[in-house]
């Protein structure tokens, strides 16, 4: 006997349903089907609550609800744990999930409040007075060189520059669809910011977006070659990611088809396995070696980003990275999303980005090397307010992944690993990918980032700050609420009222 408890139930209002069969066509999970006798039926256990059928039903006849059928209530042995045990008992498999940690862990962003000017200095009206959100990322070079006439001879310093402090974080072609990548590339170009290839290589169609592309080098080195390294504006070495610190990646063979295989440069149907470590990096001095070899291969022209997951001793790790020739450090908090991660890793490994970021920024300053690197923070930046708080804690910019996917239509059903994304994002099924129009997706991404930027300008204006670079690390602009002394100390902020 197979136990298949359903988390959701599909509610069909038969008064409204006109039997058009749209739901059967829309659901790749096979929830809706016609029985042999022609009756519209549902397999509730297969429903992931992606809301596709609900939103596309022309009659508005569908709703998805948490299953009213309840197991015997037990706060300790919740239905979730019992259901997971059934799955593992049936298959012997490692539980595989997607997106970020969904558990009710504390969000420090939600317990931080932002300052505003009253009387002693003025707020600035961002709609009518200048408000600068442009950022530059990379090492600061403060060695003044003068020409014969004594003027400062400006040096070209390796780095990135974006009009907004928001970059799209790494999502590989393979984990998401061609159309999703196309939308991210187009939006990055229009916004004058960057998107990130992830470790799936760079599709030949997107070389044209090179100036707005960060190319990633991960342990699997998929699609990495000299032209790829030189195609982007920066190279990101991925050491880890927030959703699954310390483990590698695995794109199953059934997803390495067609262009995915061509872009990753592996045969069709072959598993794409990313090792947990870079096998040429077993120690910090080896990181310098990879950083330098990438610089050599690209004529020292491209800034090197090192992306790490926020783990317990992140501050010293970041200090080591800053001394390894990296220009930028990207830190990914434990709520960061992913296309697939073992559930237990996703939900139990790593630390929150707020604490990681604050301690890294403080540590780099204590050591006097904060100006050697820029910091990009990621791992569940949900709004412009989260972004502002991250920057005031010490980030130069933020990476958004999940928020970008939501802009493309993701409903966070957390089932990317199944490859059946009904919104055409985390799938390679051509019937599904065509549901995402890249132009429309790009427009929505541009709208999202523009809206956040406007909000950020309002918040900055309220603080009387008209250049985002001096919001960076400006922790006096933050106060904690309901936080312990230890939390406040790590965050480097005072409590509200102080």
């Amino acid at each position: 006997m197979e136990y298949r408890p359903a988390r959701f139930e599909v509610l069909r209002n038969m008064d409204k349903c006109n039997g058009c069969n749209r739901c059967v066509k829309e659901c790749a999970c096979g929830v809706h089907y016609r029985s042999d006798s022609g009756k519209l039926c549902t397999r509730d256990y297969a429903c992931v609550d992606c809301q596709r059928c609900v939103e596309t039903c022309p009659a508005g006849a569908l709703k998805i609800a948490l299953n009213r059928n309840t197991f015997h209530p037990n706060d300790n042995w919740s239905e979730r744990y019992i259901g997971e045990i059934y799955k593992q008992a049936a298959t012997g498999g490692v539980l595989l999930s997607s997106m970020g940690n969904p558990n009710p862990m504390p969000s420090y962003f939600d317990r931080i409040l932002i300052n505003a000017s009253q009387v002693t200095n003025p707020p600035i009206d961002p709609l009518r007075e200048p408000m600068e959100t442009k950022i530059t990322l990379g090492r600061r070079d403060r060695e003044i060189v003068r020409d014969a006439s004594g003027r400062i001879a400006p040096k070209l310093v390796r780095g990135l520059s974006a009009d907004v402090p928001i970059l799209f974080s790494a999502m590989s072609y393979g984990s998401i669809s061609y159309n999703a990548h196309a939308a991210l590339a187009m939006a990055a170009k229009e916004l004058n910011t960057y998107y990130n290839t992830g470790e799936g290589g760079l599709h030949k169609d997107f070389y044209a977006y090179g100036d707005n592309t960060i190319v990633q080098v991960a342990s699997g080195r998929f699609g990495v070659h000299s032209d790829y390294l030189n195609a982007g504006a920066a190279i990101e070495i991925k050491m880890g990611q927030g959703a699954k610190p310390g483990i590698g990646g695995h794109l199953p063979g059934e997803k390495t088809v067609g262009d995915i295989s061509a872009t990753r440069m592996i045969p069709e149907g072959s598993d794409a396995i990313s090792p947990a470590p870079h096998h040429d990096i077993y120690s910090i001095e080896d990181l310098r070696q990879l950083v330098d070899s990438l610089k050599e291969a690209t004529g020292h022209a491209k800034p090197i980003i090192v992306k790490v997951a926020a783990v317990h001793n992140i501050a010293v790790i970041a200090s080591g990275i800053a001394r390894s020739g990296a220009d930028i450090i990207a830190i990914d908090g434990y709520r960061g999303g992913t296309g697939a991660a073992p559930t237990r890793i996703r939900d139990n490994v790593g630390i929150p980005i707020e604490l990681a970021l604050a301690s890294v920024d403080s540590r780099l300053r204590q050591e006097g090397i904060r100006d050697r690197v820029s910091l990009i923070a990621g791992g569940s930046i949900r709004s412009s307010a989260d972004m502002i708080k991250a920057i005031a804690l010490g980030a130069d910019a933020v990476y958004i992944g999940t928020a970008a996917l939501c802009a493309l239509g993701c409903h966070l059903c957390r089932s990317c690993q199944q490859g059946k994304c009904n919104w055409g994002i985390a799938t390679q099924n051509p019937e599904l990918t065509k549901r995402l129009d890249p132009e429309e997706g790009a427009r929505r991404l541009v709208n999202l980032v523009s809206a956040w930027t406007h909000e950020a300008e309002e918040i900055m204006g309220g603080m009387g700050i008209n250049a985002i670079e001096v919001l960076r690390g400006n922790r006096l602009m933050l106060r904690g609420i309901g936080l312990t002394e230890t939390e406040l100390r790590i965050l480097g902020i005072s409590h509200a009222g102080e």
């Binding site: 539980l95 295989s261 440069m265 040429d280 070899s293």
Partner: protein, 239 residues
């Protein structure tokens, strides 16, 4: 041929010379551990006299790097094309994530040689090891060819945990003693079709190592091949 004394040059300076030098054949003498030599190189024929430093030949596209002496770690990392010849021994992680090109090592290689080698289309990486290999040879191998020639006739030229997670490509080992099979990897005696596949590389190796091709190729050899390209298919359950 252009000859440079590299004793006082950094790896970066060596690469700048390689890029600028009009002569396609360049020799560097007195090399001792300079890193990144020939990284991302195209077309040149470079000879290094001495010890080639870490990550030399990384991302190499075409051309040739010949080392008269030993080489350190991560040689030919993510190599894409061209050839690397090393007359002596090579350190750890030789040919990591190679996608194309050929590496010939006269003597032994360290741990994790040829790991995560992969092939695509016409690109097929080849790693020929003259001596013996350290542990984890061909870990995660996804494509390409690894040949362990074992010129010294060691009883067992493989270390521990060879072919761990191998899911593509082929390893050919010249040895009298049949390697034990590994999870998901089968071991069989070399067949005529294998000899045909490795002939070109074995001939090139024998010429490079001054060995007699026919006496080497006729030795007893075994082939390691993965049983499938999806070794972890049943590892996960959707949650």
């Amino acid at each position: 041929m252009a000859i440079y004394d590299a004793a006082s040059l950094s790896g970066r300076e060596i690469n700048e010379i390689i890029k600028k030098e009009m002569d396609a054949k360049i020799t560097f003498t007195g090399v001792n551990g300079q890193r990144f030599i020939c990284d991302g190189m195209k077309d040149k024929l470079v000879t290094v006299d001495g010890v080639a430093g870490n990550a030399s030949g990384a991302y190499m596209d075409s051309g040739e790097l010949s080392v008269i002496g030993n080489a350190q770690d991560a040689i030919g990392d993510t190599m894409n094309g061209g050839r690397i010849f090393i007359s002596g021994r090579c350190g750890d992680a030789t040919g990591y994530a190679m996608r194309g090109g050929e590496i010939y090592v006269g003597k032994d290689v360290g741990y994790r040689a040829g790991i995560h080698m992969k092939e695509y289309g016409d690109d097929k990486p080849v790693l020929v090891i003259g001596g013996i290999a350290g542990d984890f040879l061909g870990e995660y191998q996804a494509g390409g060819l690894i040949i362990v020639v074992n010129t010294e006739r060691a009883a067992c030229p493989l270390g521990e945990d060879y072919a761990a997670g191998m899911h593509g490509g082929k390893i050919v080992v010249f040895t009298d003693c049949q390697p034990a099979p590994r999870a998901g990897v089968q071991v069989r005696e070399v067949a005529a079709r294998d000899i045909k596949e490795i002939e070109e590389y074995m001939r090139r190796f024998c010429t490079f190592a001054s060995l007699d091709y026919s006496s080497e190729i006729s030795r007893k050899a075994y082939v390691l091949e993965p049983m499938g390209r999806n070794p972890y298919k049943r590892l996960y359950v959707n949650n």
